[in-house]
């Protein structure tokens, strides 16, 4: 059976070279097209696998702690794992990653640290995306004063020294048990997430605004308006679905950035408390002893590196797969040869299909 690849978008199905000739040809949904392109990107798939592995590690940290290494409490101190100077001892059969600087099981700390990093990353990114998308859509759609106000607000936020402000805010709110804003912001994971989200939304808002400025002039928007749709409906029912691809791509790139931001805050001592395992915190705690206790920096560092790399790879893969004009990257000669062959086959098929109706219509 012949196939035709149809890179369709919201603007309707692609018009084939010969509509009549495509009768009986199986069409593909956007999802199928996306997946077909994405799965060709082996590196992105590896990234996806690693993310899955990290999520699995985060979810199963308790199980591992209790049933595998038999150190159920991540905050349990094992003083036998500190030498007479209070320095941690290295990996052994009971402590696979050795001890952290406080004499706790580093393996369990790292597993639970994955939980912290992912929670902060997803939550902070969620805040960021929600604020960014809503304001970006509004700015692009309404234009005028609304756009000016939101865009200048973005400029202001973007011009702020984010890390310094985050340090100040986390310090101010984290130093009071009652938190800030009448208890709305309290120390801990949520505070870190709020800080990240509140200072990073303009990046995605700008991208969304630019897209909306273009989309609002399209015919389907005019069509919706002519049918009596209100602004809210047009913004969120007509325009927003067309922004899913860039939002997804950008979100996957924000997540690793936020993981690193959380790690940075924890490294600076103002992130999560010591009883909440965090890779950044572990790295900070090891900073003065890594030359005599390499494992305290190596394992959290490797996990942090792998996780951020994995999200970045997946983000790149998504961007390529969702971009109808782009080609997923080809790694290695074998892949390039495969693609060349596939392209030739597709061209041949298309040629055959175009030629067939011409023959049927018959030349005398």
């Amino acid at each position: 059976m012949s196939k035709v690849v149809t890179d369709s978008t919201h603007e309707g199905p692609a018009v084939g070279a010969a509509d009549g000739a495509l009768a009986g040809v199986e069409g593909k949904t956007p999802w199928q097209l996306f997946w077909r392109r994405f799965r060709r990107d082996k590196v992105a798939l590896v990234g996806l696998f690693l993310i899955g592995l990290m999520i699995f590690a985060a979810l199963s940290a308790g199980f591992f702690a209790k049933n595998v290494v038999h150190h159920p409490d991540p905050n349990q101190f094992y003083f036998e794992m500190l030498d007479e100077f209070g320095l941690p001892l290295g990996p052994n059969a009971q402590f696979w990653f050795g001890a952290d600087p406080a004499g706790r099981d580093l393996f369990i700390q790292v597993l639970y640290g994955a939980r912290t990093s992912l929670i902060v990353a997803f939550f902070a990114t969620g805040i960021e995306v929600i604020i960014g998308v809503v304001l970006g859509v509004m700015a692009g759609f309404f234009r005028g004063k609304v756009d000016t106000f939101i865009s200048r607000s973005m400029d202001v936020v973007l011009s702020l020294p984010v890390l310094l402000l985050a340090l100040g805010l986390v310090s101010a709110c984290g130093l009071q048990p009652e938190g800030c804003l009448g208890g709305l912001i309290k120390p801990g994971l949520l505070l870190v997430s709020y800080v990240i989200g509140l200072f990073s939304w303009p990046y995605i808002a700008r991208i969304v605004r630019g897209q909306v400025l273009s989309l609002r002039e399209k015919e389907f928007v005019e069509s919706a308006r002519s049918m009596g749709a209100g602004n809210i409906r047009i913004m969120f029912k007509e325009i927003l679905p067309n922004l899913v691809a860039p939002i997804i791509v950008y979100t996957t790139l924000l997540i690793p950035a936020n993981i690193l931001f959380e790690a940075a805050l924890s490294y600076l001592g103002i992130g999560v408390p010591i009883t909440t395992p965090s890779w950044g915190r572990l790295l900070a705690d090891s900073s003065h002893i890594f030359d005599v206790a390499w494992w305290t920096m190596f394992f959290p560092g490797v996990f942090l590196l792998i996780t951020t790399l994995a999200f970045n790879l997946v983000g790149d893969g998504l961007r390529d797969a969702l971009d109808p004009r782009g080609q997923p990257p080809a790694y290695g000669k074998k892949e390039r040869r495969r693609r060349e062959k596939e392209a030739m086959e597709e061209a041949a098929e298309l040629e055959t299909m175009v030629a067939a109706p011409a023959a049927e219509s018959g030349s005398p």
Binding site: G86, L87, I274
Partner: protein, 636 residues
């Protein structure tokens, strides 16, 4: 503010030791003289000792203001002589004893113990530019007048309130301190309002060091310090074996605003000390051999001490002043055969403790406080802080050196290996005590009252401190006391517990350091009810608070045990061995009856030196290497 200054001293000396210190005493020698110190040996004269500090003193060496052990050490060894002083040695060589310094002999005390008479050595002159000015009795009165002058904002005038007329002068009610009289140039008489057994120690503090008159303005009440309320430290005229480099260029004949300080001290940059020629010429110092020609101190705020420690190993720096040693480098020094002789663990003069507020539930119940004492894993706490070199496990409050060993082995809350509730026996002991508490309604040894839930605990941030707080929280949770641990930066944390109105139930970073070798300094502020202050209060436990104080600060508890106050008042009036025994008894009252604290450790002090140092000596008074005792190795 004066209490705050004391706290700064604690933070700098004790907390920094806690931060990441480590080491063991297998490699280095413990004691007043290390591997390179041979008592009685002849040492090379001369040379320059290179010293490194990561923080400057707190008041630019103003002797009336500095309330900081680091500056005390520089004064004692090098810059200022006092009527009585210390020999710069350790506990086994009478390092905590007073000896006549500028005084010719021990003071004589009247039968009623209210009049102390000091006779001065003759022929002792100040350093240049006042090398022609002899030290006389009036100079000590001048120093006390400056300490009492409100505009100076001195550091610890409270120690001299016992001198008759001191407070009146301070309040502007008198032109002189009536209790201090220069009978003649070489006889000083001091009258106190009540028997003050430790007056000798107080007169050995830097604030009591003589201030010379101004030869060009003999009527100036504060002598050469006149007009230098904010910066006398930079114009300090030395009486010790060393002086600021360039001191001779100071010109006190000029108007104050035109005077320039000695070049040898640039705050936060350098301190350069050179020999005081007047000290050499007088030849009358039995306490300080002062082998070195000069001491060069690099002050490097914000610099990485671990880098400096490596430089000590490489002989690029001879000594790091004030701080402990990082765990990694302590291990390196103690295990490297080439460095073992350059690493020392010395007994300090401070302690660490957990303060429980006896006026806040659930710690208003003595059984809860005793249960907490049983529950805390002191050995674990010490291990987190750096292991055995961090200090000795404490079973009581006062450092043993101040009690002549009278409480050796005393620990009313002993648990196996001092591991508290982390051992079954310790947990049982803690539960048994908790079961007697009104907050354990079913008497199962687990506190079940709401007062035991979310108990606010204040600690400080930092890897070691936060891990230690987490350990304490785990230990207390085992008996049902659930802490809501809040870690703050040092300044914020202290501001919270300094204010009695905050009613902080428990704070985990208590620590105290002696001002001089008498237990009085451990009780008068942290444990004495009448000294509870509105601000900068260091009696975090509200021990001995009276009903009026409790009401004033808004406590619901109306009464707390005041037995310790009575004991402290009894001890203050005693002297000699009776005084020491009295303080030991006071410690028992504190630990068994009042129980406002959990003593954790008596701190040690770690020192590393370069191989150039030939006569390492540790001064117990100021917990530092004694620069007046050390020499450089031949060829160094």
């Amino acid at each position: 503010m004066r209490r705050y200054a004391k706290w700064l001293a604690l933070v700098a000396v004790l907390a920094l030791t806690a931060a990441a210190c480590g080491g063991d005493d297998e490699g280095g020698e413990t004691g007043p003289t290390g591997a390179t110190g041979e008592t009685g040996a002849e040492f090379q004269q001369g040379g320059t000792l290179n010293v490194w500090m990561d923080t400057d003193v707190t008041a630019a060496f103003d002797p009336q203001k500095e309330y900081f052990q680091v500056s005390f050490a520089f004064y004692r060894c090098c810059l200022l002589r006092t009527l009585l002083s210390y020999n710069g040695k350790g506990p086994d060589e009478q390092g905590d004893q007073l000896f006549p310094d500028l005084a010719a002999s021990e003071p004589t005390v009247s039968d009623d113990e209210l009049t102390w008479t000091f006779t001065l050595k003759q022929g002792i002159h100040y350093a240049p530019p006042l090398q022609d000015v002899e030290i006389t009795a009036q100079d000590f009165i001048r120093a006390m007048m400056r300490e009492a002058t409100p505009e100076v904002a001195a550091g610890y005038g409270f120690y001299y309130s016992a001198i008759e007329g001191f407070d009146d002068y301070s309040a502007g009610k008198a032109d002189t301190i009536s209790g201090m009289t220069a009978v003649d140039d070489y006889t000083l008489e001091v009258k106190v309002t009540e028997p003050t057994g430790d007056l000798g120690y107080r007169m050995a503090m830097p604030a009591a060091a003589p201030i010379p008159p101004n030869p060009d303005d003999p009527e100036a009440p504060l002598g050469v310090a006149e007009g230098h309320n904010d910066d006398y430290g930079r114009f300090l005229v030395s009486s010790g074996p060393y002086m600021y480099e360039g001191s001779e260029a100071m010109d006190f004949s000029l108007p104050v605003k035109d005077q320039t300080p000695a070049a040898g001290y640039e705050p936060n940059k350098t301190l350069s000390l050179v020999r005081n020629p007047s000290w050499v010429e007088s030849g009358q110092d039995d306490l300080r051999p002062a082998y070195l020609d000069a001491i060069s101190v690099e002050i490097c705020p914000g610099c990485d001490q671990e880098v400096a420690e490596k430089k000590v190993a490489a002989d690029e720096i001879d000594h790091i002043f004030a701080n402990g040693v990082s765990a990694a480098n302590a291990r390196m020094f103690s295990q490297d055969p080439n460095l073992q002789d350059q690493y020392f663990v010395e007994p300090g003069s401070g302690n660490y403790y957990i303060a429980m507020n006896v006026a806040v539930p659930p710690f208003d119940d003595v059984h809860v406080r005793k249960a907490v004492n049983f529950a805390v894993n002191k050995e674990g706490w010490r291990r987190l802080g750096g292991g055995e070199t961090f200090g000795e496990i404490a079973g009581y409050f006062t450092p043993p050196g101040l009690l002549a060993g009278l409480l050796e082995g005393y620990d009313p809350y002993a648990t196996p290996n001092s591991q508290g509730a982390d051992t079954p026996e310790g947990l049982e002991l803690a539960k048994a005590e908790m079961a007697q508490s009104k907050y354990d309604t079913d008497q199962d040894g687990i506190c079940d009252a709401p007062e035991c839930k979310a108990v606010l605990s204040v600690g400080v941030v930092g890897r070691v401190a936060e891990a230690s707080d987490a350990l304490i929280a785990q230990n207390l949770a085992a008996i049902g006391v659930e802490l809501d641990v809040n870690s703050f930066d040092n300044s914020t944390a202290y501001n919270k517990i300094f204010d009695p109105k905050n009613q902080i139930p428990i704070s985990t970073f208590g620590g105290w350091l002696q001002d001089y070798p008498d237990a009085f300094t451990f009780y008068f502020f942290p444990m004495y009810g009448p000294n509870i202050l509105d601000a900068y209060n260091t009696n975090y436990s509200m021990a001995g608070a009276d009903p009026d104080q409790l009401e004033k600060y808004g406590y619901e508890v109306t009464e707390v045990d005041q037995a310790l106050d009575e004991k402290i008042e009894e001890c203050i009036a005693t002297t000699g061995e009776e005084r020491t025994a009295c303080w030991a008894d006071a410690d028992k009252v504190l630990m068994e009856q009042v129980v406002p604290i959990v003593p954790l450790i008596f701190s040690n002090v770690e020192q590393i030196i370069s191989s150039r140092v030939a006569n390492y000596t540790y001064s117990l008074f100021d917990n530092q290497m004694a620069y007046d005792q050390v020499a450089l190795a031949s060829g160094a």
